[in-house]
Amino acid sequence: MEVFLQQVVNGLQIGFVYALIALGYTMVYGIVRLINFAHGDVFMVGAFIGLYAIERCNLPLPVIFLLAVFGCALLAVAMERVAYRPLRGAPKIASLITAIGVSLFLEYFTALRQVFGPNFYSFPRPFAVSSWEVRNISLTNIQAIIFFVTIFCLGLLQFIVHRTRLGRAMRAVSYDHVTAGLMGVNVDLVISLTFGLGAALAGVGGVLYGIAYPQVNTFMGVMPGLKAFTAAVLGGIGSIPGAVLGALIMGQSETLTSAYLSSTYRDGIAFLILILVLLLRPTGILGTSRTEKV
């Protein structure tokens, strides 16, 4: 039982990081119906910003997070402007392919020796690791920071989406962007800000991931990106609580499979759950279905 609970705690740790990435996927998909394959690479850039901020400048933790937030948001806004916006009226698959192109570009461009470099780099811990024992279950301060930072970000996001003018505009564009534009919403700006907001969360996720699993590489975003996207679909894409729920399920399935079955089957089980859920609820656990009309 203690082993099981310990694994659940470890699963929450990775689950919360996935949640931060999944939110960006779900927001972008909700607003422009695009699977932004480059989002996992934004997460990677966030981790590298954290790495340099700690190693080169030794900045305090909140400043590191802010740097990652702004760096990633800027990157995503630029990405949207260059590669996605010109294709907004084109077939959806065209922007999906450019998203794949942006993703490959970010991975291989940053892997150049002149940029981040092609190797695995160890991520320095900005603080000493300590842990508490609660009934034989250990809880590290890293886990505590991940829980608090993620919950803070989630609260902030819920506030933005449901209590501000920007949030209302985002919901309007997501519902019907033509009508929203006619009602005076600046659609381009709202879409840019949505990309920026999602990327900011991924940046926070990147720094947290670096602290928790202290090794970074320019391809580190691929698998977490795919899993976070899967989590967003699992929970019901377009839904913010759904993305978090899906991410927590992914985190649990991953750690529990590694602990009780075999870590080589880890990725397989996570996607098996996705397929089973899609068969029972084709729009995800908390998703709402749209009826198709001729």
């Binding site: 294709l87 698959i93 392919i97 570009f105 150049l112 899967t230 080589t264 990725d267 397989g268 397929i275």
Partner: protein
């Protein structure tokens, strides 16, 4: 008689190409490395034609094509390695078995998955692709010959120039005839509007299944050819990125355009390899920096694909 003459006329240029290519290779006039790349391009084109049937013609978004390619590759390689020796006839049989294996799995996957629509189908097939990759990685725990994560070795080199070219010719013929038959028209109508197609009396689920199974069987055939060209299989040859590669080819060529798929397959494979030769030593890493830039620029300029809807005369429907 006409039924025999038409395919013969279609395949004649491919036979000439196969014969002359084999002759040139035997005479040593062409670098064997480029011969091999040419064969890889033919094989990729067969697989991409399959995805074009699934996505381009039927409109089913699949992100797991490489998994079916892998199923065909492992099935054919396993059969050939265990029972085949160096018999050309058995090679053909194991290729067909690879295609049939991929078709069978596609049917099993399609039964539940084809009830999903658009992006959700894409995610489900992506998930299936990753599950298959995990299975390939662990394949040695139930069949040691498959090698698992260490890769499968000891496959005979059977795929020659003629095999690759003739399979491409037969696949093109089959897809052209399929698309210009009433079955093909039903597939196209589902792509254009599934609800409308259903109300016109088309059994949409059955036709979607047919399109998916046929497309995946091409991937399986191509996989078998690939296995016996490079004589080494590794699960990473069949991961998510390989599915994306094929998708890029199909979209670049233009959805529902066979000529486009053909040209894009050759263009893509030769671009990947050509950059290796063109780039000065020490700048090889730039290959994957340039390719995405080219890809993005191409998509921004031609979102409908490079070739839109124009087909080679050979691939158009016969005038009535």
């Amino acid at each position: 008689m006409k039924a025999l003459l038409q395919p013969a006329r279609f395949l004649a240029p491919f036979a000439v190409a196969a014969a002359s290519g084999t002759f040139l290779a035997a005479a040593g006039a062409v670098n064997p490395y480029w011969i091999q790349i040419f064969q890889l391009a033919c094989i990729t084109a067969v697989s991409a034609l399959g995805l074009n049937v699934i996505y381009g013609f039927t409109g089913l978004f699949s992100l797991g094509h490489a998994a079916f390619y892998g199923i065909g590759a492992y099935t054919a390689a396993f059969l050939m390695k265990s029972y085949g020796g160096d018999s050309q006839l058995f090679f053909l049989a194991s290729l067909l078995a690879g295609g049939a294996g991929a078709a069978l799995v596609a049917w099993l996957v399609g039964l539940p998955a084809l009830r999903l629509t658009s992006d959700y189908l894409g995610i489900a097939t992506l998930g299936f692709g990753i599950i298959m990759k995990v299975l390939f990685d662990n394949a040695d725990s139930f069949l040691p010959q498959l090698g698992g994560a260490r890769g499968m070795t000891g496959i005979a080199k059977m795929t020659g120039f003629a095999w690759a070219v003739m399979f491409l010719g037969v696949s093109l013929l089959a897809v052209r005839n399929l698309i210009h038959s009433s079955y093909g028209r039903a597939l196209l109508s589902i792509r254009e509007d599934e609800v409308a197609a259903g109300s016109m009396g088309i059994d949409t689920f059955r036709y979607k299944m047919a399109g998916f199974v046929i497309g995946c069987s091409f991937a399986g055939l191509a996989g078998g050819l690939y296995a016996h060209l490079y004589v080494f299989l590794h699960p990473s040859n069949f991961d998510f990125f390989k599915s994306v590669d094929v998708l890029i080819i199909v979209v670049l060529g233009g959805l529902g355009n066979m000529s486009g798929t053909l040209i894009a397959s050759f263009g893509w494979i030769f671009l990947l390899e050509g950059l290796r030769v063109i780039l000065p030593p020490g700048y090889i890493e730039l290959r994957w920096v340039l390719i995405p830039v080219l890809l993005i620029v191409t998509m921004l300029q031609r979102p409908q694909g490079l070739f839109g809807i124009r087909e080679f005369p050979l691939l158009r429907g016969d005038p009535e």
